[in-house]
Symmetry: C2
Subunit: 210 residues, 2 copies
Amino acid sequence: MSAMAAELPDSDPPARKLTARGRDRRHAVLEYATSRFAENGYHPTSVSDIVDGIGVGKGVFYWYFPSKDDLLLEILRDALFDLRRSQEAEIADSDDPLERLELGIRASLTWLVANQDILRITMFCWTEETFARALRKGRRIIIADTAKHIQEAMDRGLIEPGDPEVMATAVRGVIDELARSYAVGVTKVESDVLDLAVRLCLHGLTGKQS
Amino acid sequence: MSAMAAELPDSDPPARKLTARGRDRRHAVLEYATSRFAENGYHPTSVSDIVDGIGVGKGVFYWYFPSKDDLLLEILRDALFDLRRSQEAEIADSDDPLERLELGIRASLTWLVANQDILRITMFCWTEETFARALRKGRRIIIADTAKHIQEAMDRGLIEPGDPEVMATAVRGVIDELARSYAVGVTKVESDVLDLAVRLCLHGLTGKQS
DNA sequence: GAAAAACTTGACCGGTCGGTCTACTGACGG
DNA sequence: CCGTCAGTAGACCGACCGGTCAAGTTTTTC
C-alpha cells in the first residue's frame, strides 16, 4: 500500500523545515489522529475524518506526513521515544542496577497506564505486518535497555546467572500484560499494579523477597 | 456500516437450509477467511481475496454471509461456541467444583494455544466497537460459566467468601494474558503455562498451595 | 421428469478512500 | 514592497472495495 523504498526506517529523509505554526499544526494532527485511531480504529478513520476534525484542508495532512501509514508509524516512533525518555529520566540518579530496574519498571508501567490510547493502537498494530514490524523493532530496543541493567546486576552478583536478553523479555512481558489488563479493568488501582509488577519481576530475577 | 436492525444477536433470522455441499462451502469460507484475517488483517483482506483464494465466485460469499462484518462476527461466535464446548466436555465427569475449575482452566488455555488465529483476530476486534461489543458479550458468558463453579466452591467452603463474578474475571484475565504471552513467545512450553495458570488461579482463590 | 429450491458466476455499481495538484494565502527578510 | 517559501484549501483522480443482480447450473423434492 505504501512506498517500496525507504528501507532505512529512522529519521525522515526530507526532514522539512517547520515554523512555529507548522510545528503546532503537525502536533495537532498527531494528537488528534492518535485519539481517533484509538477510539475508532485505524482503517475506519479516514484522512478526511482527521483533517475535518481539526478543521483544516487535506493539503495540511500531506504537507506534514507522506502517507496515512507513515503517520501511524510516526505515532509509534514518538511513543517509543517518549517512553524511553521518561524511563531514562526516572533512572538517571541511581547507580544501583537493581534500583534502576525497579524505577524503570515503575516508569514504564506508569507511562503505559497514562497513555492508553497508545496501548490500544498498539493492539491493532500487532495485527498488520506493516506496523507489527515497527512494534517488534521497538520492543527489541526496549528489551536491550532493560537487559543492560540486568547484565550489570548479574556482574555484581545481584542476579543469578542466565541470559539477560531472555530475562529482559520476561520482564517486559509482565509489564505489557499488566498494563493491558489494567486498561481492560481486570486489575485494581494503579499503585497496586506497580507494586505487583516490581515484586513479580525483581523477586523472579533475584530469587529473594524484596 | 452493517444493518441497523437485528438487535437480537443470536441465531441468524433467515436460517437458510443448507445441502451437504453447501455446508462444506460455507465451512471452507469460514476456515479460509479466519486464516487470512489472522495473518493479513481484517481490512486488508478483501472479500475478493477470500473468494479468489478458494476459487469461487463472489456470489458464493454473499449466499452464505450477509456481509463481511457478519462473517467476522460469526467467526467469533463459532469460536466462543467451540471454546465453551471443549471446556464443558472436559469438565463433565467431575463433581468437585475446584477440580472443574482446574479442568476448565486447562481446557481453555489449551484451546487458546491451539487456536492462535482466533487469538490474533481477537486482538484486532478489541480495536473496533462493532466487534468489541461481541467480544465483551462473549467474555461475559465465559465469566458467568466460571463464576458458577466458584460460587459452588464457595458454598462448600472451599474458597474464601467474595464476589464470584470478580474472581471469575480475574481467572479469565490470567488465562487470556497467559495465552497471549505464550503466543508472543514470552512464556515457555505449553505444559508449563498450564501448570502456572492453574497454580496462580487456584492458589489465588483458595489461599492454599495445591 | 418437471418444478422448485439451492447454489454459482462474474460483470457491474455506487461510494469511499488515500493521495495529487493547482491555485492561493500570509509571514518574513531584505 | 516585492520575492520567497512555508503553509493551506479543496476539487479532483484512479483504484478498489463491499455489495448487487440477472442469468445460469446443479441438486432436491414430489
